[in-house]
Symmetry: C2
Subunit: 217 residues, 2 copies
Amino acid sequence: MQIAVLLYPGFTALDAIGPFDTLSPLPGTEVVLVAERPGPVRNESGNLALVADASLAEVTSPDVVVVPGSADPSGQLGPGPVTEWLQQVDRTTTWTTSVCSGSLILASAGLLTGRRATSHWLMLEQLAAYGVEATGERVVFDGKYVTAAGVSSGIDMALALVGRIAGDRAAQSVQLLIEYDPQPPYDAGSPEKAPADLVAEWRNADLAQLVKPQPID
Amino acid sequence: MQIAVLLYPGFTALDAIGPFDTLSPLPGTEVVLVAERPGPVRNESGNLALVADASLAEVTSPDVVVVPGSADPSGQLGPGPVTEWLQQVDRTTTWTTSVCSGSLILASAGLLTGRRATSHWLMLEQLAAYGVEATGERVVFDGKYVTAAGVSSGIDMALALVGRIAGDRAAQSVQLLIEYDPQPPYDAGSPEKAPADLVAEWRNADLAQLVKPQPID
């Protein structure tokens, strides 16, 4: 089984790596980082580069696709190599998945039209604008399309996916291996739970500004 | 403030990226990936490379150091460039931290002797052998030394650290941004909670074998 984790300039690292390290222990699985071209791909803040080991052209029939999000995914919305690749590989995937605003990229490619899906809590309106039934749930399965909410939710999504692919015991095994027994020191991880003024502050923030690129390359 | 996240051949990606993306939103902070030499550094399975943007020699006085773990950290235990660098920068850090078996690397450098610390649940005996008061807690503060349990616990550790560095509100803000409202689909994330036979299976497993390197470079 081949699992392709997509990289593109401006991606959020944890969106990609949460699922990456949760799916990697699956037996008989190759997990590969893919991008338009092989080589380093910088994240949204420019302070990290992950290496794509394969080009989109080299990965033509992955079983699972994971699309991470970005504070500013606009560069991947609309026609372009990523959209074309997603439309092509989606024809034969078993699971097409996203984390955070990665669902906007899937939606923009027309893959979520009329489906239930989730995204980062700040991106749900934008998701709905693509004709998607946007929900604030943390992980949403709709057929073979699996979407996760913001950033850290990719771990929950990937664990659920391991369960569907290899059974509950395999998923529990991975959970134990990555010691995923979360104990956040605060209870502010969703707009329903965080202080209302913080939520309002983020609603008014310019996310793309927040993660001002600091180019190093 | 400079935060240095250490990379070395065989590191676990999520150990590094959980704290990376939790600490990155801190205002006025530079987070840099460092390794013995700049350039791509492969993870334990060989299926991912992160780029070190700076060499150890270039990062001489970080305020915070994060040491990720590995399924097989043995290459970093004992004398060597990483140990020397840790001993040197620890003299001036505000916080010296680790995730997973990263605490073995700190302990091997003599930085945790006589202190309370944690590690991956499978590594606690090895940690104790360094004269450390090893505990199975998820995040342990002892003075400026902060250690986290296995892999995913680096997110909890980094959130707690944001709270100490910038206050509760800043930490809640980051938690909301990364939507860290964990909802694992299983409750098997610790040896106390997982099925006993699974725990026994892992205790008998050869972790280094599990993540057989598949060199790509």
